[in-house]
Amino acid sequence: MSVWNYVVTAQKPTNVTHSCVGNFTSPQELNLIIAKCTRIEIHLLTPQGLQPMLDVPIYGRIATLELFRPHGEAQDFLFIATERYKFCVLQWDAEASELITRAMGDVSDRIGRPTDNGQIGIIDPDCRLIGLHLYDGLFKVIPFDNKGQLKEAFNIRLEELQVLDIKFLYGCSKPTIVVLYQDNKDARHVKTYEVALKDKDFVEGPWSQNNLDNGADLLIPVPPPLCGVIIIGEETIVYCSANAFKAIPIRPSITRAYGRVDADGSRYLLGDHAGLLHLLVITHEKEKVTGLKIELLGETSIASTISYLDNAVVYIGSSYGDSQLIKLNLQPDAKGSYVEVLESYVNLGPIVDFCVVDLERQGQGQVVTCSGAYKDGSLRIVRNGIGINEQASVELQGIKGMWSLRSSTDDPFDTFLVVSFISETRILAMNPEDELEETEIEGFCSQVQTLFCHYAVYNQLVQVTSSCVRLVSSTTREFRTEWNAPSGYSINVATANATQVLLATGGGHLVYLEIGDGVLTEVKHAQLEYEISCLDINPIGENPNYSQLAVVGMWTDISVRIFSLPDLNVITKEHLGGEIIPRSVLLCCFEGISYLLCALGDGHLLNFLLNLNTGELTDRKKVSLGTQPITLRTFSSKNTTHVFAASDRPTVIYSSNKKILYSNVNLKEVSHMCPFNSAAFPDSLAIAKEGELTIGTIDDIQKLHIRSIPLGEHARRICHQEQSRTFAICSLKNQSSAEESETHFIRLLDDQSFEFISTYQLDPFEYGCSILSCSFSDDINVYYCVGTAYVLPEENEPTKGRILVFMVEEGKLQLITEKETKGAVYSLNAFNGKLLAAINQKIQLYKWMLRDDGSRELQSECGHHGHILALYVQTRGDFIVVGDLMKSISLLIYKHEEGAIEERARDYNANWMSAVEILDDDIYLGSENNFNLFTVRKNSEGATDEERGRLEVVGEYHLGEFVNRFRHGSLVMRLPDSDVGQIPTVIFGSVNGVIGVIASLPHEQYIFLEKLQSNLRKVIKGVGGLSHEQWRSFNNEKKTVDAKNFLDGDLIESFLDLSRTRMDEISKAMSVSVEELCKRVEELTRLH
């Protein structure tokens, strides 16, 4: 049963909705604060650029974000209002690096019609009040007292019902607003009101202006000394004040965002719907405005926010494309643009559609999204884990170990790659042609297996075999000296660094040697009570060539022990518990913190904090990486050290913000890995896997990798066809000519190169609405089916559409047949070897018929009426789940014998759907336009027809995201024998660019995590005092109810970010050890 669901974010929102600049973290520091719908990001401006400081989750969708400076304060406060009518005022406490809540509250009214044009939140420039326009006809005032404290809010009646914008005017003795509104004849005007705080009412303001541009949509208040307001229209820009009125015509455009440049308000940056950036200049003589001037600067992403930062650098926040950091140059470039893009920041939003494919055929899903809009449209390939980009590879069976060696101590590059086999050791080296070829190091023993190799001081190399330790000159490659194991004993495990060797022989003998110039000195010997399974002396102290600690893993008592060097005294003994022996131990240092990693034979990994001075081990944590023994090795990439865990599920272990993270490597099974940093292959890794030795470079170390394929047009539907190795998309391109014409296409793309290989242009006014790759009964071919609609300006709903059936022949889209429909084909599904289409109110089934002449056609078989608009359809067997425009989810069944489709059950709630998916036979998942998720259950066992005909709502949750698509699949490699491999998952994509995972958990696990979530709520407080419980409650116009049968994975996984004392608190409350909690939560992080 998929009733118990766990919702977690794989990709956080990337759509930038708001931004502002001010002195938030200190009076001397300038910050850029960005809102990405449900998160804010605080950046610091530095000589090197934008420095990320903090990512702050907000328990609400941000409606307003404003910085303001109350009287007497040295730095700015942040005002945030959410769409669910909560607000808070935050202050930065620099000493504690914490966000303090100065005030918060609820500004909802019991009655009132929410505004159509979005919520408005503004702060009086003289900090006398906060103004909110949340409901039609009401203006809410939160007054400040003279100490800057907020007082009780009150409402004022606002006569204007269709408000487009409200701003506070500068330089008014009484707080004054300017209102841009539309009257009932659709004409637009501005009006000013003074807010009389004492009387709690408006007083007619100093001026008004009637009959503005019909497209006037945005007000820009002008600061002193000029004051007044700029009104931005689609064809004119107007400056208005009590004593001046200036207007200039502009090229028709819709201004989406503005940013003030100068403190005196004489220059503004305007960003329009086509991504053009203009500079608006108010010309003035002293304090008298003489005119307006507008200059085109260049093109950026389509801006949703513009923030002038400092020194001609500007932040462009975008909802439709990547956000950008740009510089305004004094001189135009070759294309006449004054805009130079310094950096761009990934935005996946809006994700309109996506598909899950396994392009590399490795058993791991990748998500390919239709992202962005208009000219900023793109495809994005999102995959989890770290990729290895293969540079060279050779077939080599039976590799038992690998090490890279330098030819001299101070050579920055590796020359030799030592590969060990069961009964020989082979040396590979880069030849002058930069090719890897076999060579010899004469001093090495090559007829036996090598246990360990390392370069050593004095241009030497050290090789450990089962019988001896050999020291060899790295320049002459000749033998210098050796140390032999006592007769009757063979060396089992060994390790070394540039000056030290530690080895263990049978019988628990531990031997410590030091390397000199042509000398190997046995410094110390210890006899342990059990056999030694693994050891390490990786130097992580001050001396990069010498370790003062040795770590040893033991058989029998299953422990790790830390010894001091050179005297080999035990200083710490840690029992690992359980019956699985440690197979690999490693001392390592991440971000200045020392750790001991200990890998067990069953794929588990333990990590401890290590005190280098005392050898003390603390904060033990355990994770499961795979099921086979793990071998640990360090490597460095971009000057940072990481650890590679080779196993059946290779993983890179790294640290970010002082927290250890695990990222999958996109390879199946890796038996050995060693860094191989040669001149020809810098920063590379040598990897032994499945009878193959591969040299490759490694991706940037991060969890999700996003590749961008800019299209220059807006992709709306995507689908993959395995057989032809292609993608097909429905897209539209806006013509840049003056007329608002757009052309719709079906495009075929190669699934490796992502190049357009074939295009089919749709008719004028014809939109591509749905796309499907499928095959039919009695036909071996695979087709692309496309559903379209003729969207005519005079029609409310399309009354005509087409189903087009294409085949890919020699890389071209060939139209096989087409079928006219009586409406828009919103959805297409393969169904019992036939084609199921959702056409306006109807579900229609088509058979694939062979005509006498051998050609094919779609023939209508049966249908089902009874929807407002059947927008989203999923099928399973003979069952059809329909998501309706406004009538929630219904379940239909296809009856073969009768050749009919009938309704079986429906959810009687009035949910406006945005996506549906079938979780299992009985549970269906839906998302709706108030940003909620819900699940319904088929009630087959109901006693009456009425009961059976009702889909029971079993789960409800406020996601806070507008979901456009669900797809079954996984972003991670699913191993059938791991616990998480058994958990079915659905991926979703949202308007804010969020990619999330919904995992259906076993009941026992759900109960456990529910308890953990309720405990976490007590420890992790919502920023601004906002409540997590309220945030996740299902909410629409009709009802608000507590979330049920959904868990917030983001909150649960933040357990791993807690300090040890907080973890202990929760562990106590749960009566479960911290280690167990960490392990269970860490496992969940592997779902995404």
């Binding site: 009214d109 007082k151 409402n155 991060q702 919502g1022 300090s1059």
Partner: protein, 95 residues
């Protein structure tokens, strides 16, 4: 054109001075520390939990007018009050 494109405001002349453009086809993903505030300061001071006056605008207007009517009467002169001694402000008018 040049004249409006100079004198860009500067808070700290060093800001962005060492920034070099990166490959725009390779958008950056910034590594942020996620803030989880496990402390008591997420709760505002008790007097700074703001609500809206419950009384609706119409009632507020009524009572304000009632108060206004009463005020001049009280202020006028005492004999006026004596004349209309029976009329007292209602307890509920204090809003």
């Amino acid at each position: 054109m040049g004249s409006v494109l100079c004198d860009w405001p500067s808070f700290d002349p060093h800001n962005f001075s060492q920034l070099r453009p990166t490959d725009p086809s390779n958008p950056s993903k910034m590594a942020f520390a996620t803030y989880h505030p496990p402390h008591s300061r997420t709760l505002p001071p008790p007097d700074q939990v703001i609500t809206t006056k419950a009384k609706n605008i119409l009632l507020r207007k009524f009572y304000e007018r009632a108060e206004e009517k009463l005020r001049p009467k009280r202020a006028a002169s005492e004999n006026l009050i004596l004349e209309h001694g029976c009329k007292q402000p209602r307890a509920s008018t204090s809003c």
